[in-house]
């Protein structure tokens, strides 16, 4: 079934009885060519691109809960390509290009909105660091504009330019940065994968990974054993537990990141704004809620919920930067579990076990990576070779010292 405005109208005229399921509910088969563990954004996009780019059809996605129930459905929806280290730059640039064609690709409106992202800076030193970043972005072929204070004021007149604790010196504008409707990304990929024959199997928890003579042969699940010669692990938030089924210990510590949304308001914030000194970022959803967040709670956690100190810190940052949001009321807070790595960058790599691949460690930057992560993981699983834009996301880079530390905070997992 192809979605379109015309289809919406014809269905509407006939009582909307004709809409068919967005995806099937298949029973698991005994064997697949490839199994994807994890039905989140990355798992679904990997399955989609395995089918689309590599002609594979006999694929299953195994999801222990419901599709898109992980971090793809609990983030602040920011999409950007503003990394500066070689290795990250080309990957996120590739991802943004995929985002820009995603609606047409998936025939699903993920509401990718390139409203512009502004990273504020508050000292000469930070300006220089952002200039370096902006230059990296332009060198990569993406867009970046260094704004001075007046340039920021023109775009964001409601910031507190007079009294805020860390004066606004300027900002780095990334015009192609923006947001997307997070759930729709998962659903769009799920529907697209299903239409290409991928079996999306929900309520199916993997309980073991079968390995014979150093080669993966399948998985054990709550719905029985399933054989496969290729298995991909894409279970951010639970990467350690699933990898442990294959005897692996990962360079990951799990942390909770909280996010917040206010009641619906008429349009008031038209960009994505990031305030580094307060570790605060905000945008307004199309429904009108202010969607914002801050740093992780900083202690290892699998609780999907956080505590007040970070809640208050985030709100205080909002109040010093843009006190006009004071009367907006927070409607809901939630938490997601982040795979925090020792350099803040992800892993897309083979493992020591033949046929077993892993895509994890997205810290809290996984949402915008969904298209390229799937693209590159599918490439890796299909060809056995790292994709050119993901070749530095190696599992052993901590052992060898080939790090990708954008924040420069070092090997402490929670500082990225």
């Amino acid at each position: 079934m192809r979605y379109s405005g015309l289809k919406v109208i014809t269905e509407g005229l006939f009582g909307n009885k004709g809409w068919r399921p967005a995806w099937r509910n298949p029973e698991p088969k005994a064997e697949y060519d490839a199994i994807i563990i994890g039905g989140g954004g990355h798992g679904l996009s990997t399955a989609y691109y395995l089918a689309r780019n590599h002609g594979m059809r006999n694929i299953a996605v195994l999801e222990k809960g419901y599709l898109g129930g992980g971090n793809v459905g609990r983030n602040t929806t920011i999409v950007r390509a503003n990394y500066f280290l070689p290795g990250n730059s080309e990957f996120y640039s590739h991802s943004l290009k995929l985002w820009e064609g995603l609606e047409a690709e998936l025939n699903y409106n993920v509401m990718h909105s390139q409203r512009g992202l502004i990273n504020l800076f508050h000292s000469d030193g930070q300006r220089d660091a952002f200039a370096r970043r902006g230059n990296s972005m332009v060198n990569q072929g993406d867009d970046a504009i260094l704004l001075d204070r007046d340039g920021v004021r023109e775009l964001l007149p409601y910031l507190d330019f007079e009294q805020t604790r860390f004066p606004i010196y300027g900002g780095l504008l990334h015009p192609r940065g923006g947001t997307a409707r997070h759930d729709a990304v998962a659903w769009g990929y799920a529907r697209g994968a299903d239409r290409r024959g991928v079996d999306l199997i929900q309520n199916c928890e993997v309980t073991g990974i079968d390995i014979e003579n150093g080669r993966v042969t399948g998985v054990q699940t709550t719905r029985g054993a399933i054989r496969a010669r290729k298995v991909g692990i894409l279970v951010a938030g639970r990467s350690g537990q699933v990898a442990a089924m294959a005897g692996m210990r990962l360079p990951i510590e799990s942390h909770v990141l909280q996010a917040f949304v206010t009641e619906g308001l008429k349009p008031v914030i038209d960009h994505v704004i990031s305030f580094g000194m307060g570790h605060f970022y905000i945008s307004q959803s199309d429904k009108g809620g202010l969607v914002f967040g801050g740093d992780i709670d900083f202690y290892a956690s699998y609780a999907s919920r956080g505590n007040l100190p970070m809640v208050e810190h985030v709100m205080e940052a909002g109040m010093t930067l843009m006190p006009m949001i004071g009367r907006a009321k927070v409607l809901r807070s939630w938490g997601g579990i982040m795979d925090m790595t020792p350099d803040g960058s992800p892993i897309i790599d083979k493992t020591d076990i033949d046929g077993l691949f892993i895509d994890c460690g997205w810290n809290y930057g996984g949402f915008k990576a969904v298209p390229a992560s799937g693209w590159c993981m599918a490439h890796l699983m299909a060809t056995g070779e790292s994709h050119a834009v993901a070749r530095r996301f190696r599992l052993n880079r901590f052992l060898t010292g080939h790090l990708l530390d954008e924040e420069g905070t070092g090997s402490q997992h929670n500082l990225h």
């Binding site: 360079p251 290892a300 052992l399």
Partner: protein, 89 residues
């Protein structure tokens, strides 16, 4: 979240700085192979359940603490000083 500091009593989480798993207590000897340093600095059991990790009472008595707690429920089970001889075990 509240952490009972052995020196100060129960205090709000905001007084403490979190470092990471208690693996950091077991620093390899000089000359240990790179894999040992990789395990020390990077690789983690990262349990969903009871764990032991390191906290610094930075806005209090400055003690480094080994906290036994549950990463799923956030229950704090016990706390001891990192400087105690038994802490690293």
């Amino acid at each position: 979240m509240r952490i009972p500091c052995p020196l100060c009593g129960p205090r709000d989480r905001r007084e403490f700085y979190y470092y990471g798993a208690d693996d950091y207590l077991r620093r390899p000897e000089e000359g240990a192979p790179p894999e040992a340093w990789d395990a020390y600095l990077h690789l983690r059991d990262n349990p969903a359940g009871v764990t032991r990790d390191l906290w610094h009472h930075e806005m209090g008595c400055s003690a480094w603490l080994v906290v036994t707690r549950n990463t799923v429920t956030h229950e704090v089970i016990s706390v001891r000083l990192a400087s105690e001889k038994e802490a690293a075990k």
